[in-house]
Amino acid sequence: MSLRAEAARRGHGLRGRLLAAFVLVAVPPLLLFAVFVMALLSDRLERAAGQRLRQGLDGVRARVGALQHQAETAVAAIVRADLARPASSEEDARQMAATLGERHGLPLLEIVDGSGRVLSSRQWPAGVGLPEGDREVAGVSHLRWETVASDYGGAERMAVVATRPASWGGVPVVVRGGFPLDAEMLGELSDLMGSEVALRDTARGRWVARPDSPLAQAPGFDPSKGEGTTDVSGTAYRWAAAPLGASLWEVVAVPHTLLADVTGDVGKLTLGVAALALFAALATALVLSGRIAGPVRALAARARGVGAGDLEHTAVEAADEVGELARAFASMTYELKTSRERLVQAERVAAWREMARRLAHELKNPIFPIQLSIETLRRALDQDGAQDAGRFQSLFRESSDTILDELRSLRAIVEEFSQFARMPPPRLAPTDLGELVERVLALYRARAATVKIETSLAPGLPTVPADRDLLARALGNLVANALEAMPDGGTLAVKTRAAEEGVALEVSDTGPGLTEEQRTRLFTPYYTTKKGGTGLGLAIVQGIVSDHGGRIQVQSTPGAGTTFTLVLPISIMAEATT
C-alpha cells in the first residue's frame, strides 16, 4: 500500500512540479512586465498632466493680461474723447456708461465721482447715485469684485478692470471699465484648454467657476499649496494653482481618471493574460505530465509486478527517454525472467541432485551394513554352517538385528521424505503467537536441562492467520535446532514483536553460530550440519512459513549464536511462486 501510495505521490509530484515550473516560467515575467508598463504609463501621464496644468495657468494669466490691456485701451479712449462734454440731462448721465460701454466694447463700465458715488453704470444701473460698493482684490489693482445686475438683485462678479481718472464736464471722476472673469468666461477657457479653470478668493472663501465645476465642490481646498490632488464625488483631480493677488488664485485641474482608467485597463489586461497563461500552463502541464508520467507510472506498475513476481513482458508505449527506459526495463525484465527460469531450473536440478546425493548417502549407509551382514551370513553359512550351528545361529541373530535396524532407519528416512513431499496446505485460523510459543516451549522445557529459556512476548499483538499445528511444528523445529546447538548450555530466547509486514517471531540461541556458507545453504533440503539429520527440518520450516505468506531470515555470528526470524503477515498475501 505504501509503495502504491508512494508511486502515486511521485506521479502527482511530477505533474505538480511540471505545473509549478510552467507557472513560474509564464506568470512572473508577465506580472513584471505589467508592473513596468503601468509604472511607465503613470510617469508619462503624470508628466503630461503637469504640462497641461502649467499650460493652463499660463493660459489664464495670458487671458487676464490680454483683457487688462484691452480694458486699458478702451478706458483710455473714453477718457480721451468721450467725456469732454457734460451730460445733457440726468437721464443722459445715467445712460452714459451704457452708451460708452456699448461703443467701446466694454461690458463693464462705471463712472464714479470723487466721493465714490456712482454717476453712471452699465452693469449696475440700480447703483447710480449710491456709494460704490465694489471690492478690490488685495494687492491687485486690475482685479475687482464688481456688482452686476442679475435677476431681481445684484451679483458679484470677478472682473478685470482698468481705472483712469478723468474729467467729466469739468467734474473730476474715475472711469473704470473692464471685462468679467465670470463663470461663462472661465467655462470657455476650460473648454478651450480641456481642463477645469477656476478662481479662488481665499479672503472671501469664494470660487469663480462654472456651475458644474468640480473645483467648487472640492472639500477643504487650499490653493496656497501650489499643487496637489483632490477627490470630488469619487473622481480624482490633479490641480495646480498660482496667485493672481494676495488672496486670489487661479486654479487649473485635470481629472486623474485617465491615469486610473489606463492603469486599471492595463491591470485587467494583465490579469486576463495571466489567467490565460495560467490556464495554458495548467493545460500544458497536464498534457505533458500525462505524456511523461503515464509511461512512468506504467513502468512503476510493471516494476511492482516484477517485484510481485510477474515477469511477463508487457510493453509500455512511450517515446524519447522514457520510452528508452521502458525498453531497457522490458529487456531487464526479460533477462530477469529467463535468469529466474534458469535459476529455478538450476535450483531444481541442484535440489534434485542434492536430494539424490542425500538419498544416495542416506540409503548407502543402511544398505552397506545390510549388504555386509548378508555377506557375513553367507560366508558364515558357507564356512561355519556345517561345523558350528551354534555359532551360525549367533551370527545370524546378530546380522539379522543389524539388518532390521538398518531397515528401520531406511523406513524413517523414507517416512521423512514422504512427509516433506506430502506437506499439507495450511488450514488458516486466527492464531495468537504468544500462546503458541508458550505451548511449544512447554514441550521442550524438559529437554532444555542446561539451557535457559527466555521469552519476550509483545502484548497486544494482532492474531495472525495460521495453521496452529504447522506453525507449532515449524517453531518446534527451530527450538529443537537451537537446543541441539547448545549441548553444553546457553540461552534460548523466543521473542514476538510487531513488524512492518505483520508480526515477527524470533528464536535466538547462544550456540556456535553459522558460517556464511552454512547460512546460505541452511534452507536447502537435505543440507544438515548435524550427525544423523535429514536436512529437511529447516526446509520444512521454510515451506511452512512460505505457505503462510511469510518469510524467514537468519542472522548468525560465528561464536555468538544464531537468530531465526519468522515474519508472518496479519492478512493473507498472494502466494509466492516457487
Binding site: 444701473p125 449710491l130 456688482t147 445686475a149 431681481y152 445684484g154
Partner: protein
C-alpha cells in the same frame, strides 16, 4: 357703469354719421364704441382656475373680472355700487340690509336667484380672504360658521327668489364692501359665472379665450372675444405673442394703483431692531426709484392710494438714531410682478447700508410674513378692508386690529376716515410695511384699443373696451 342697450342705437347712429362724413382711422375712434372685434392680452402668467377666489396675480385678477360677477362692487373710492344686486336698503339702525337681485343670468342660462347668492356667500365666508374674515366677524353667526363650528348662518337669509337679508351684529360703516371681493363672486350650481364674458376654452398654460355674454347684467360687452395669452416664449405660439393688443409695455399707462411695498419681517435677524427698519425705510430715495426704475411710477409715502384714503402729512424722514450702516445677511423675496429694475434698486439701497442681500423670486400674491418686495393691490378697494389686509400682511398686533374694528363701527365717514388715517400711520410707524412707490399695471395697449381701464384692485375693466377695426 356701462350704458344700457340703447347704446346700440347710438353706435348705429355713429356708424351712419361716419359713413356720411367719411374719413380714416381717426374717424373710427371718433365714432365711439363699436361692437365686435377681438382683444388679445399677453400676460406673463397663465391662469389655472376659474373658481372664485382671491386672485394671486394680474392674470387671475383680469380673468375674475372677465368671467365672474359679484353682488356688490366698489368704485375707485371704495363706495359700493350695484352689480348682481341692483339695490339695497337698511333697517334696524344699519344692522339689517336687504339686497334685491337684478334680473341676471348665468353663463349656463340659469337665472341668478337668491339661493345662488346665499350659496355663494356661504362659500365666500369660508374662503382664505381678509374680506371674508371681516364679513364673518360682523355677520350674525359668521365667526362660528367660518370656523366650521356650525353650519347655521343666521346672518344671511333669502326671503324670496330675488331678495336676501344680511344681519350684522353691529352697525358698520361699509357693511357691503366685502361683497366686492372677487372671492365673493356668485356662480351657478354647476359653477358657471355671471360675468361679461363666457370662457370658451379651459384655462391652460397657453392661455384662455372668452366670448361676450349677451345676457350680462349690464348688457353685452362691446368686444366679441378676449384672449388671454401667455407671454412666456416657451409656451405661446409666436403669432399670438408677436402682436398682442395689450401686453407688457416699457412705459405702462396710468393710473398707478399698485403699491410697491417693502415688507420687513421683524423675525429676520437684521430686521428685528426697529431702528434698523426705520433706517431702511428712510434710506430709499423714492423719487429716484419711481422716476428712473419704475416706468409710469410715482413715489409713495403712504400705504393706500389717495383715492382710497387721503394720507396724513408724512413728515420728512429724519436720520433715525442708531447705526448709520448695517451688517447682516438678508434674503429678499421678490414677487414676479415687481419690475426687475425696481427690485435691483431696492437691493442697491440695502447693500449701500451694508447689508448682504440675496434677492430671490417668490410667487406673486400674499404670503406669510417674510422680507418681501411686492406689488400690492387691495382685495377690495375700500380703505378699511385694505388696511385690514395690510395689517394681516404685517402680522400687526392687537391694538391695530382693535382700531380697525372701531373704525369700522363708525358710520360718520369723516371720523371713520380720521381713524383709518391714524391706523395707516400706525402701520407705517412700525416700518414693517414700507411703501415705496405707486406702480401702474405693467400693461400697455396699442393704438386702436379704447376704454380699457385699470381698477384700484389691480384688474382691467374689459367689458367697456372696444377696438377699432
Amino acid at each position: 357703469m356701462r350704458p344700457l342697450p340703447s347704446r346700440e342705437a347710438a353706435a348705429t347712429f355713429a356708424i351712419v354719421l361716419a359713413l356720411t362724413v367719411g374719413g380714416g382711422s381717426r374717424a373710427h375712434s371718433a365714432l365711439g364704441p363699436r361692437y365686435g372685434g377681438e382683444l388679445r392680452i399677453a400676460l406673463a402668467e397663465s391662469a389655472t382656475t376659474l373658481a372664485p377666489s382671491v386672485p394671486r396675480g394680474l392674470t387671475e385678477r383680469i380673468l375674475a373680472a372677465l368671467v365672474h360677477e359679484v353682488l356688490v362692487d366698489v368704485d375707485d373710492e371704495g363706495r359700493p355700487r350695484p352689480a348682481l344686486v341692483q339695490s339695497w336698503a337698511s333697517a334696524a339702525e344699519g344692522r339689517e340690509w336687504t339686497l334685491r337681485l337684478a334680473p341676471a343670468t348665468f353663463h349656463d342660462g340659469t337665472a341668478v336667484g337668491s339661493a345662488d347668492a346665499v350659496r355663494g356667500l356661504r362659500r365666500f365666508l369660508r374662503a382664505d380672504s381678509v374680506a371674508a374674515a371681516h364679513l364673518a366677524r360682523v355677520l350674525e353667526g359668521g365667526d362660528d360658521f367660518r370656523r366650521r363650528g356650525s353650519e347655521a348662518l343666521p346672518g344671511i337669509t333669502a326671503i324670496d327668489d330675488a331678495r336676501i337679508v344680511l344681519r350684522f351684529r353691529l352697525p358698520a360703516a361699509v357693511p357691503l364692501a366685502p361683497l366686492a371681493s372677487p372671492a365673493a363672486a356668485i356662480v351657478s350650481p354647476r359653477g358657471a359665472g355671471a360675468g361679461p364674458f363666457v370662457p370658451t376654452t379651459p384655462p391652460s398654460a397657453r392661455g384662455i379665450s372668452v366670448t361676450a355674454f349677451g345676457r350680462h347684467v349690464r348688457g353685452r360687452p362691446f368686444l366679441d372675444v378676449v384672449r388671454l395669452v401667455s407671454a412666456a416664449p416657451d409656451r405661446a405660439s409666436r403669432s399670438e405673442v408677436a402682436v398682442p393688443d395689450v401686453g407688457p409695455a416699457a412705459t405702462p399707462s396710468p393710473p398707478a394703483n399698485g403699491l410697491l411695498l417693502l415688507l420687513l419681517d421683524p423675525a429676520a435677524p437684521p430686521l428685528a431692531d426697529a431702528r434698523t427698519r426705520a433706517l431702511i425705510a428712510a434710506s430709499v430715495d423714492r423719487a429716484q426709484l419711481a422716476r428712473h426704475f419704475l416706468p409710469g411710477g410715482e413715489p409713495a409715502e403712504s400705504l393706500l392710494a389717495p383715492t382710497l384714503l387721503a394720507p396724513l402729512p408724512v413728515p420728512s424722514p429724519r436720520a433715525a438714531p442708531g447705526p448709520a450702516t448695517l451688517a447682516g445677511r438678508l434674503v429678499l423675496r421678490v414677487a414676479s410682478d415687481v419690475p426687475q429694475s425696481a427690485s435691483q434698486r431696492v437691493v442697491a439701497h440695502l447693500t449701500a447700508l451694508g447689508l448682504e442681500v440675496q434677492a430671490v423670486a417668490a410667487s406673486a400674491g400674499p404670503a406669510s410674513s417674510q422680507p418681501r418686495l411686492l406689488v400690492w393691490y387691495p382685495e377690495v378697494a375700500e380703505a378699511g378692508l385694505a388696511l385690514e389686509e395690510l395689517a394681516a400682511l404685517a402680522g400687526s398686533a392687537a391694538p391695530i386690529r382693535s382700531a380697525l374694528e372701531a373704525a369700522d363701527g363708525l358710520r360718520d365717514f369723516d371720523r371713520r376716515r380720521a381713524e383709518l388715517q391714524r391706523v395707516e400711520e400706525s402701520l407705517r410707524a412700525g416700518h414693517v410695511l414700507v411703501p415705496l412707490a405707486r406702480v401702474p399695471l405693467p400693461l400697455g395697449a396699442r393704438p386702436g384699443v379704447h376704454a380699457l381701464r385699470a381698477t384700484a384692485s389691480g384688474s382691467l375693466v374689459v367689458e367697456d373696451a372696444w377696438v377699432e377695426p
